[in-house]
Symmetry: C2
Subunit: 590 residues, 2 copies
């Protein structure tokens, strides 16, 4: 591979604009491939090559020193001296790239501290200009103690204000990934946090409503107020310009600090002014080799759009992991390797207090929008063997295409190990796996790590049963719709009386026949009514549906996910706490 192409490129000049993720990655890889190229990184800020995703953990105090976010694992700061001595890469920090002259292949730069300007030539140019926080176009967004979390300086400022000790309440505008991470961080620092999310539920890009509801129930149990459908219209301050209140159409929320985290948009000004093509998503258009519409200019990271591997549509999904992958692919292609960056799956994982939360592929909502006939299952389960003491509850939602049986996506939340399942499904999705493939995977099994049939395979088996018409289910939302429409049906709880006493749905339609007595008491069930079975998880509910099917009952379904996934509240001895939480607390004490 280091043949002809590489050799003639040895003396090339490579300019890289942006020194956070894609840029340094491309530079380092390029140097390893090409010892003689002249490589220069131009970075507007002072801090280079930092892990932006680590900023919430600096604010929370989990990360003690902000410098560690821009240090190697051996503890060496990746500053311009490091890049010079170790990587033989020039870094011009505090330097702004003002314009690109594509004809003459030069970039006009200016040092933002000294005002000195220069014009640098390039053979290949890499745009790694990143994203920038979406501005909130309302009154008061510029008040003191209204933060964004964009660069390390923001995190440092926020931590300083919190450390100074006066803020007691915080409003986070935006319930996305940064929003929920920061809700945890600020709560653990002793603040009372409210999340104001404009959409009907938090994390709308990651989750469908019922999964978001399960997560929201938990976040609330940690003391965070979650206000959904709440568009912030104004932020008020005092005479000194410090924030005091956040205003929504329904509420005035007193707040000592505010974080605006409503997302990121690609930073494309430079590209746009240079006449490079910008896509519908707002990101720079790149081909599969990450070349822009000018083949000598590459772009990667948060400033470009990506191809979604399932829909083949262009999407804007800014992530640190993608940015790093881009950097390497760009370096390889500059050196003539012809490596393709195939696309993304919209995978996202996030820690929210003690919940592990993640998604890959499409949500049900996204799948239907993309035209798929989505079949779904809500699958509450324990992440490893139920008899092993560390097992913890999780809720999976697996989605497939009814026609092709292809997996479309997974959502997973809970105390238990969800991220492993997200990664397994992300891997399977990359290879176009179907619901029939998943149960055939030879995944690792031992009681501390999984169940004999892993829950991802279990969820796939439920989807197979649904596609084949063996399992018939309604989602909790569909059942709630029937109740709201005052429909008549038998709502058959097949748990034990003890479980019923502990928590139950109080509704006149509910009838209790434990599964163990089911076959003997069938005569209590009329054949001319719709029957909706359920239990705690839906395993016994499904079993009951199959028994009734076998007995010739014409209209039987089970309620997907059982009580565990029922987000509309339960009664009973344990009803003060959501069941999934209560059981987890017990487990953690064990």
């Amino acid at each position: 591979m280091e043949g002809e192409i590489a050799m003639e490129k040895k003396k090339m000049k490579v300019l890289i604009i942006g020194g956070v993720a894609t840029g340094p990655k491309a530079a380092a890889r390029l140097r390893r491939l090409n010892p003689e190229a002249e490589i220069t990184i131009i970075e507007r800020g002072k801090i280079l090559s930092y892990a932006g995703c680590g900023m919430p953990y600096y604010v929370s105090g989990d990360v003690l020193d902000c410098q560690s976010l821009s240090s190697t694992s051996a503890g060496v700061l990746r500053d311009s001296v490091f890049f010079r001595n170790v990587k033989d890469v020039n870094v011009l920090d505090r330097t702004l790239a003002r314009s690109i002259d594509r004809k003459n292949r030069t970039v006009d730069i200016v040092n933002v501290e000294t005002g000195e300007s220069d014009v640098l030539p390039y053979d290949k140019l890499v745009l790694a200009t990143g994203g920038q926080p979406i501005a909130l176009p309302i009154e008061g967004a510029g008040l003191n103690k209204v933060f964004r979390l964009y660069q390390p300086e923001d995190a440092i400022a926020m931590r300083e204000v919190v450390a100074a000790g006066n803020p007691r309440t915080a409003v986070i505008i935006g319930g996305g990934m940064i929003g929920v991470e920061m809700a945890e961080a600020l709560t653990r620092l002793g603040l009372h946090v409210k999340i104001a999310e404009m959409m009907p539920h938090i994390l709308p890009g990651l989750f469908d409503g019922e999964v978001a509801a399960y997560l929201t129930r938990y976040i609330r149990s940690q003391g965070v107020d979650v206000l959904t459908g709440s568009r912030v219209t104004e932020i008020l301050g005092d005479d000194e310009g410090n924030v005091t209140k956040v205003i929504t159409p329904c509420a005035e929320i007193p707040s000592d600090i505010v974080l605006i985290a409503i997302g990121v948009r690609p930073n494309t000004k430079l590209a746009q002014e240079a006449g490079l093509e910008i896509g519908k998503t707002g990101g720079i258009v790149v081909n599969e080799y990450l070349q822009t519409s000018d083949p000598d200019i590459y772009a990667g990271g948060d400033c470009v759009e990506n191809v979604h591997l399932i829909t083949a549509e262009k999407v804007f999904v800014p992530l640190g992991s993608t940015a790093n992958r881009h950097g390497r692919v760009i370096a390889n292609n500059i050196m003539g390797y012809k490596e393709k960056f195939k696309g993304v799956l919209g995978t996202g994982v996030v820690k929210v207090f003690d919940y592990n939360v993640g998604k890959t592929g499409l949500t049900e909502c996204q799948a239907r929008e993309a035209g798929f006939d989505a079949v779904t299952t809500l699958c509450p389960a324990t992440d490893n063997a139920h008899y092993y003491p560390t097992h913890k509850p999780v809720l999976l939602k697996l989605i497939a295409d009814r026609k092709t049986k292809k997996i479309l996506g997974l959502q997973a939340v809970g105390f238990g190990e969800t991220v492993k399942r997200v990664d397994v499904i992300a891997t399977a999705l990359s290879f176009g796996a179907t619901v029939d493939d998943l149960p055939g995977l030879d995944l690792g099994y031992a009681p501390p790590y999984s169940t004999a049939v892993d829950i991802s395979a279990h969820a796939a088996n439920i989807l197979r049963n649904k596609i084949e018409g063996i399992a018939k289910a309604l989602t909790p939302m569909q059942v709630k719709g029937k109740i709201d429409r005052d429909e008549d049906f038998i709502w058959l709880d097949v748990r034990t009386p003890a479980e019923y006493k502990k928590e139950r749905i109080e509704d006149p339609r509910v009838k209790l026949i434990p599964l163990g007595m089911f076959r003997q008491r069938l005569n209590e069930l009329p054949r001319d009514k719709e029957i909706i079975t359920f239990c705690k998880l839906s395993l016994r509910g499904y079993e009951a549906q199959r028994i009734l099917d076998g007995e010739g009952y014409p209209d039987v379904k089970f309620m997907d996910g059982g009580l565990e996934a029922w987000p509309y509240g339960v009664a009973g001895d344990a009803a003060s706490k959501p069941s999934h939480q209560e059981s987890s607390i017990r487990l953690r004490a064990a």
Copy 2:
């Protein structure tokens, strides 16, 4: 799918011999597919449908009640009453199947308690007769307090003896998965444990030598003596028939209890006597529908052989997960679904104290035996972002085929999250992934869960570099070989002086030039000698190799896995403890 085939089979008689994993799984699935079949399970023991893999955790006390191993997650015991009432399945326990009359389609059975016998007819027969411990054909194997861990009764007996309080020392014969699990269990119960393994290293089916060495170093640090290459020749007892000593050619080891865990062989007596085909591995031969050489007789679980998905060879890999998967596939095929069981990857995971340990696919040794030109990397790393406090060390060994670039296998050990990586690679292996595919996977990234480029992708990138000739490495074993042959070379440590002080290899060939000063001090390195670079992990070692390559040095390699994977001992301030352990302990305190 529930069409014609299913309907004509409704009244069929299905006999299942074996009530542990495959059998009950097949029965339950069959009942859900077919409400009218007559389903009978014949089980020799008293305890049904139990999680055999949970037995070490019953002995250790992690699992308080042995019944929980055979209970549903809702806490209901899966006994014969449960199978009758809930599953409508007959169970004949304490019953032995003595012979199969294939011509008349009957099975001759006898109740082992009452001696009553019977002849049961079948339309379809399922053999789920499991495995049985390999006997140790030596004197003393039958003494008191010499245990096997075969069925719940064994675990109960062992726990009783330990609870009675007198045993202080234990010898475990066999360093396989059960051996290391039980070493942990017994150590935590206060016993001093010695493992006697006949092969040159423990877990020979899971690991190559250097990975086993890394694990062994840790197991020893937990107080367990690991004796490899130790074939036990005799077990001695006292006048009362209680074990006292275990004898190997090199040692007499006093021991209060002994566990023989040298593996399992398929239980095929019944199948063999019925004239069914038995494979070279000793397991019952089944086709991809899990039919034996008699199409009306299915077999699954620990009594059959499987196809290895990489080599296409028949293998005997008895695992609870495979047994459960078999059960479902058998039921589907009995009902006419024509579902294929494609095969296994030899995936295995096991918890060893606080190490998470696993493997999927082939080891290097297995790969070479199978004729592959294996390219490998030893990759020590942290499992998540190094600045995030919960990160922990792991060692990965990834193996690929040089010609096709296909991934062949992964070994992973350490305090950190290794099982997720095993599952990701197992999934990728199932789809024939290459080293080029892995870095393209859109895996979940957040600092608590992974690094921006996941370590599995990082390992794949190293393999790509090796295949492409960019990275040139020697394994620690190869370097050790050179030293043993007294070869001359420069052994170039590129870490910082502080790291060197803390731990170092003491050898006259070693020369320290920190990477940060490397480009300035190149003149200190002769061009006519072989140079082998290394650092802690091998990242900087690789960087140094690339720099020297770029400078035209003709013979430079880095040492794979750096000091972290060097199993032959180090000197220095931290040398009393293996570095990976020391750093972990620090992390855990953080």
